[in-house]
Amino acid sequence: MEKVVIADKLTKKFGNFIATNEITFAVDKGEIFGFLGANGAGKTTAMRMLCGLLKPSSGDAKVAGFDVYTQTEKIKERIGYMSQKFSLYEDLTVRENIKFYGGIYGLRLPAIKSKTEYILEKLSLGEVADTLVASLPLGWKQRLAFSIAMLHEPPVVFLDEPTGGVDPITRRQFWDMLYEAASNGTTIFITTHYMDEAEYCNRVSIMVDGRIQALDTPRRLREQYGVESMDGVFQILARGTSTK
């Protein structure tokens, strides 16, 4: 199986503080990989390194075949990124947002046009195409943001806490999109601190204080720790070492 994200003893130190401590993992093509941890466990630092935003202190990592030390520009061209907080411009319309991001990723005008039509059609956003994003329901925004992150057909998409606060049906509509993208071969790398979200992933890693303490399918982790849910696994792993 082709590995799309590979981290080998990836480490980042800020002065004396070790934010991520020799983390090692590999994510397959088309896999939905859950990257879990409490706030401050080092998730964000690790993800920033993988996205080419932060230079590692030591260790190696490759994303979509490119090195995180020397080929960050190539990495940025080939990844999609979505975070719940700041992905879309609220004061631009749906169409303008798509056009803007299409432009950023170097899509040609005809390509942007056809992609726009495709997204509007697929998300049934035709009627609100020229409405400001600010006035859309949260669930629509999330789906639009994900579609935009997929605009340039990246081999891997990084999702930073993407699905907070929506109703259960809307949330599943979002996961349907993730499953679809994954079945088409896109690798989904998703961080979250909500453990029920973790149950949807193919495999999950759990970070505690900068280290990866567990890495497996949700089912095997539950069995290994003898608990009913991923939440139980997390409580066991995180409680002993940190009560920040």
Partner: protein, 301 residues
């Protein structure tokens, strides 16, 4: 302790609450469960006298939220959605300030918060802005408790807080309940519902159902199966088009399949999936969760 009678509230553009009614008993831990924008915060603001309802009536501890608001403010504790702390003041200063605003002192009501505050004590001189999410949450709770309220209103206290802190927080609420406090708490997380005595499911400003966490699932009337297979996405697609399917949603590693009627045979479903060449099919009937119930009630609406 809390009585809400056909409360409605409309903002300029949207209807936030439509004829909401329910009661909360003294000493009860009552959960208001629904997504963002369902109207939870609006209802809370009405109950803590920050907002006037368009129609309807509500009383807290026998006091009317419109007429007796001054009296009410001394006996209720309120923790708004974002932890409302002064980021540039220390833990101790925040608590001291809220105590004196309510005309009391930390010492006078220390017993009530002792259990929570001991965890904060080591960080007493740290500024609230430098605390972790879980710690801020605990401090905000202490600040809401410092004047020994009879009723506690907690608006999404666990949003943005990690799983360990969430669990600790619910344990604290349990202990406060045992001291006789009435607690109304809102949350968008269905898995927190089971921790409440009773819950109300709310969506688009309407109450979908009110019951105990166990009782609420009786509102779910159709047969429910959990199914998994090798290719999740194809399985969802095929099941959604199947003639026997009412709804099909992803639920962790399983799919939850609601059938149109009791009469659908499991062997029939298996045959259907085999014909579509699905492998490693695993299937068993399950009893519905609060989340299943919520979705079916949304659907019915």
């Amino acid at each position: 302790m809390i009585a809400i009678e056909v409360i409605s509230k409309t903002y300029a553009s949207a209807r936030a609450l439509q004829q909401v009614s329910f009661e909360v008993q003294k000493g009860e831990l009552f959960g208001l469960i629904g997504p963002d924008g369902a109207g939870k915060t609006t209802l809370f603001k009405i109950l803590v006298t920050l907002l006037l309802p368009d129609a309807g009536k509500a009383t807290v501890a026998g006091f009317d939220v419109v007429k007796d608001y001054k009296m009410l403010r001394t006996i209720t504790g309120y923790m708004p959605g974002r932890f409302s702390l002064y980021q540039d003041l220390t833990v101790g200063e925040n608590l001291q300030f809220f105590a004196s605003v309510f005309g009391t002192s930390i010492e006078a009501n220390y017993a009530l918060i002792a259990d929570i505050y001991t965890q904060l004590e080591p960080f007493k001189n740290r500024r609230a802005g430098n605390l972790s999410g879980g710690m801020k949450q605990k401090l905000a709770l202490c600040c809401a408790l410092i004047h020994k309220p009879e009723v506690l209103f907690l608006d999404e206290p666990t949003t943005g807080v990690d799983a360990v802190s969430r669990k600790e927080f619910w344990e604290m609420l349990g202990r406060l309940k045992n001291r006789g406090l009435t607690i109304l708490v809102s949350t968008p997380y269905m898995d927190e519902a089971v921790l409440c005595d009773r819950i109300a499911l709310i969506q688009n400003g309407t109450i979908l159902a009110i019951d105990t966490p166990e009782g609420i699932t009786t509102h779910f009337t159709k047969p429910l199966l959990a199914i998994r297979g090798a290719d999740t996405y194809r399985l969802i697609k095929d099941l959604r088009t199947a003639p026997f399917t009412h709804t099909c949603y992803a639920f962790g590693e399983y799919l939850h399949l609601t059938l149109k009627s009791e009469s659908v045979d499991r062997t029939y479903i298996e045959a259907f999936l085999q014909q579509k060449q699905h492998r490693q099919i695993e299937m068993h009937p399950i009893s519905p969760t609060v989340e299943d119930t919520f979705m079916s009630l949304m659907d019915r609406q």
